[in-house]
């Protein structure tokens, strides 16, 4: 871009329509440009150096595999993984939320229970996945349980912290107006905790996709994780890449849904000032 273009942007006079929008938010255009350049280089490199398909498939091969998959068996496996992800997320998040509310009621309870929860959290879930598969079988239920154990902690931790976020004078004011313990919880503590709870939900939904895939890796009869193992075994690299694309679309989609709900529920918070609590 030349200096002359910059002057046009500053006065805001001449650029119109799409072109103007691109100038206002250059990151959109640049992101698309980056994508095109990277994919182009990738395609070019694979063709130029004649890289074997089983090492690195070309973008066009991945695209073809994606198209083929979507019109044959992807939808079925997608549905299985999606159901496991959502089921485990709902189960784990609800469990974390409920336990967080219970534990958050008193410091004594928190100090008694928390060490066990932390011990459970430090346990790598991948390591206990085989046990869960033995207990719950090769079907969807074992994946739902594995996912739930992963989605559980972000909700628990953020709920406990969030329930403590209500400012002291807010609580004192409600008590001065004769509010009961339950009323203080309902009118101040819970709403104050919502921004934290949504941070937990956002972390949990993304981890849930991982949970479902890990579960399928250990042993499954269907699902995108199961399909990745199969295609890997058949050295169908383009197919594996195509599934990875489907998985990330699923993850991003779920993340966006959580964010959209958050903006509606926690409407009084500026999303840019969201508090970020580690998972």
């Amino acid at each position: 871009m030349t200096d002359h273009d910059d002057e046009l942007l500053d006065t805001g006079a001449r650029p119109k329509g799409v072109w103007q929008a691109c100038l206002r938010q250059p990151e959109i255009g640049l992101a698309i440009l980056l994508f095109v350049v990277v994919v182009g280089c990738w395609e070019g490199a694979v063709r130029l150096f004649d890289i074997p398909k089983i090492v690195l498939p070309s973008p066009s091969a991945v695209g073809a595999a994606l198209w083929l998959g979507l019109s044959t068996d992807f939808p079925h496996h997608f549905a299985v993984t999606f159901f496991e992800t959502l089921g485990g997320f709902v189960l784990g998040a609800a469990g974390g939320l409920i336990l967080g509310v219970l534990v958050g009621q008193s410091r004594l309870m928190e100090r008694t229970v928390y060490p066990y929860i932390v011990a459970f959290q430090t346990l790598p879930k991948v390591a206990i996945a085989p046990i869960i598969v033995i207990w719950f079988g090769y079907g969807m239920s074992s994946k739902i349980v594995i996912t739930a154990t992963i989605a559980f902690f972000p909700l628990l931790a953020n709920t406990i912290v969030g329930l403590r976020a209500a400012p002291q004078d807010q609580i004192e004011l409600l008590v001065a107006f004769t509010a009961s313990r339950w009323q203080v919880f309902r009118l101040a503590r819970l709403p104050q905790a919502l921004p934290y709870i949504f941070v937990g939900l956002d972390v949990a939904i993304v981890l849930s996709v991982i949970g479902a895939i890990v579960g399928e890796f250990v042993g499954a009869q269907a699902g995108l994780g199961y399909l990745i193992l199969q295609k890997n075994f058949n050295m169908d690299m383009a197919g594996v890449f195509a599934i990875l694309i489907v998985l990330s679309v699923m993850g991003i989609g779920l993340h966006l849904v959580v964010n959209a709900i958050q903006r509606r529920v926690v409407f009084w918070m500026d999303s840019s000032s969201d508090k970020v609590m580690g998972a």
Partner: protein, 259 residues
């Protein structure tokens, strides 16, 4: 006396800090507030004004002494009390009207009836048409007016205010003082207001309770016999000046002038 709304006798408060030290915040506090009276409490910061107000609001336990409301011991918060803190303390996820209705909701009073009251008070404090706005759409002064409306809505007999205009600029503050007097006159409530501004204490009060620190105690109680209704002109009257300088001289003799 039979027309005393609040009676405080031999009130003591000692805080225990986490390190185990004790802070003697209130020592042998004695006073009474008559029904319909406007009493202000003035003193330098740290002299126990907020402690006193929180004990009267029933949200802080006293260490010793008697606190009575209409001759009955006051244990815990009362439905007959409305409180205002220094910060407006509005819930950001509730509209102005929903914030004002909090005491009604908490105390399970008749919502339709008190909704009318709420709207009437909002009009009285100049916030007509703001009922459905959210707190972050209001200025600081407007937010505090919502806080005062919230303290009035359930028709309490006693209004407790802890430096309610402390965070406002001088001009808004004068205006709010006038408005407060108007509301008090119209609603015929008993009011106890804490401040560290001597002129504010004198301007509002029937009686001024002067406190001194370490330990917090009442050093004198002054009658303010300025005529009502009061306007800002009162501030320029010799009587007003005499009262203000008397209190100021008192703090100066204690070496604690910061008001």
């Amino acid at each position: 006396m039979s027309n005393d709304l609040i009676t405080v006798k031999g009130l003591e408060k000692t805080y225990r800090t986490r390190e185990g030290t004790r802070i003697h915040a209130l020592s042998n506090v004695d006073f009474a507030v008559r029904e319909g009276e406007f009493v202000t409490v003035v003193g330098p910061s740290g002299c126990g004004k907020s402690t006193l107000l929180k004990i009267l609001a029933g949200i802080l336990r006293r260490s010793a002494g008697i606190v009575q409301m209409r001759g009955q011991g006051l244990e815990g918060p009362s439905r007959e009390v409305g409180v205002v803190f220094q910060a407006p303390v509005l819930l950001p996820w509730r509209t102005v009207l929903e914030n004002v209705m909090l005491p009604v909701e908490i105390q399970r009073r008749d919502r339709t009836r008190f909704r009318e009251e709420a709207l009437r008070y909002l009009k009285m404090v100049g916030l007509e048409g703001f009922a459905d706005k959210y707190p972050n759409e209001l200025s600081g002064g407007m937010q505090q007016r919502v806080g005062i409306t919230r303290a009035l809505v359930h028709d309490p007999s006693l209004l407790l205010m802890d430096e309610p205009f402390g965070a406002l600029d001088a001009m808004t503050r004068e205006m709010m003082n006038l408005e407060l007097l108007r509301i008090w006159t119209e609603s015929r409530k008993t009011a106890l207001l804490v401040t560290h501004s001597i002129p504010e204490a004198v301007f509002l009060a029937d009686r001024v309770i002067v406190m001194s620190p370490r330990p917090g105690r009442i050093s004198e109680i002054l009658e303010v016999d300025l005529p009502r209704p009061r306007t800002l002109e009162v501030i320029n009257s010799p009587a007003f000046g005499r009262l203000v300088s008397a209190i100021r001289a008192h703090f100066q003799s204690l070496g604690t002038l910061d008001a």
